[in-house]
């Protein structure tokens, strides 16, 4: 494993992640506009969105054909996870290169990312 090869592999991972999430978001969008196309959205006043769309477990539970916003949110969640998966993959790559310094450094970045994603805020 060389750095160049590692970069190519993580690039492919990023493209796959963003493509899949765009597809999920698009299908959720069609589903939502089909059912709620004639309603009027109001984003002038801020109000935090429903709790079920605000955590990993909530979104995984909410995303089903009867809940189109949940499907969109699932696509967005997958998008957020894509760079995180990239960092995890880079860590494995540095381990294969037997570069202890960078395995540690990448592990810290990964921990920060997982804290941001999963810790309750």
């Amino acid at each position: 494993m060389t750095d160049q090869r590692l970069e190519k592999i993580v690039s492919v991972l990023l493209i796959a992640g963003v493509s899949l999430s765009a597809l999920i978001v698009l299908s959720g969008a069609i589903c939502y506009l089909w059912q709620h196309g004639n309603e009027s959205p109001d984003y002038h006043e801020f109000h935090a969105i429903e709790r079920k769309y605000r955590s990993i477990q909530g979104v995984l539970g909410a995303a089903r054909p009867s809940d189109c916003r949940g499907i969109i949110q699932l696509g967005l969640l997958l998008l957020i996870c894509t760079p995180i998966a990239r960092v995890a993959f880079s860590m494995a790559g540095f381990a294969l290169e037997r570069d202890g310094t960078y395995v540690l450094l990448t592990a810290i970045v990964l921990a920060i990312l997982l804290y941001g994603l999963a810790a309750p805020h």
């Binding site: 963003v18 709790r51 605000r54 960092v87 310094t101 805020h121």
Partner: protein, 276 residues
């Protein structure tokens, strides 16, 4: 306005933002939030949440270009992400505690700076004295040029880390990629060659934004129905923009864009002051 009218409108605005962002190198996120708040009256918190998601999409989508070119430096990226991700967590926490008037003013100031940066000529690649830290963390590298390999040394690592922490904080606070600040850190402080710093910075933007996205998600800032056309629009626009880069009349475009961004910046600041 119904969803069937609102969604295509937001998609179109976001696609234009993404296109211009890619053509000028500023990134789409920095334009999409003022466009949503000033043109459509969207609350700045919803706009920032949607923009942050689009920033991750653009950064990841641009990876296709790196496979072709091979300029990015994965070690520089990972090393500096230490600073940007911690900054991004701090920024996202600050965002939930900052009055929207102040957010608007800070956003306007960052926009003005970006507009100014976008009119500046690209810095000349010049190497300085190599930093021992750069050697220790294997940051020095080479990139393909004129059929061979051009090697480079990285300087001022600590200054770069500090600037990157600031870039990460702004990214988390405002839901932007902070491309302009990252360029200052990498091009001007660390003397990383232009092509390496832009592609590496693009890589880093997604990771930085992902650090704060979780906080935005759990605070309820990411409204799926609004984020959906923003993400798809900015992604589409930036993918088109990345292909057209060589053919475009970049000079004229940069100045036009800088003028538009400058006007939006002043409006953001005025609106922000009125909300205080």
């Amino acid at each position: 306005m119904t969803n069937l009218e609102f969604t295509p409108l937001v998609f179109t605005i976001s696609a234009i933002a993404g296109l211009l962002g890619a053509l000028t190198g500023l990134g789409g996120g920095v334009v999409v939030t003022p466009a949503l708040t000033l043109l459509l009256g969207v609350d700045i918190r919803f706009a920032i949440g949607a923009s942050l998601v689009s920033v991750i999409a653009t950064s990841s989508g641009a990876a296709a270009a790196y496979v072709r070119e091979g300029y990015s430096n994965i070690r520089i990226g990972m090393f500096l992400e230490l600073a940007t991700t911690i900054g991004a967590l701090l920024g996202a926490y600050l965002a939930t505690r900052t009055p929207t008037g102040i957010l608007g003013i800070v956003f306007g100031a960052v926009l003005l700076h970006s507009a100014w940066m976008s009119t500046r000529p690209r810095p000349h690649d010049s190497s300085g004295k190599p930093d021992p830290l750069a050697t220790r963390f294997k940051l020095n590298g080479s990139y393909p040029a004129d059929g061979g390999h051009q090697s480079y040394k990285v300087t001022h690592v600590k200054t770069g880390l500090g600037l990157m922490f600031g870039a990460g904080t702004l990214s988390g606070l405002l839901g932007i990629g902070s491309g302009a600040l990252k360029v200052i850190a990498m091009d001007q402080a660390m003397r990383i060659p232009f092509k390496v710093s832009t592609t590496t910075s693009n890589f880093m933007i997604g990771v930085t934004a992902a650090a704060s996205a979780g906080i935005y998600l759990s605070r309820g800032y990411i409204e799926p129905v609004l984020a959906m056309p923003v993400m798809l629009g900015v992604l589409t626009g930036s993918l088109i923009g990345a292909r057209k880069l060589i053919g475009a009349r970049v000079r004229v475009l940069r100045w036009t864009f800088a003028a538009v961004v400058g006007v939006m910046a002043i409006e953001m600041i005025v609106n922000g002051v009125q909300k205080l």
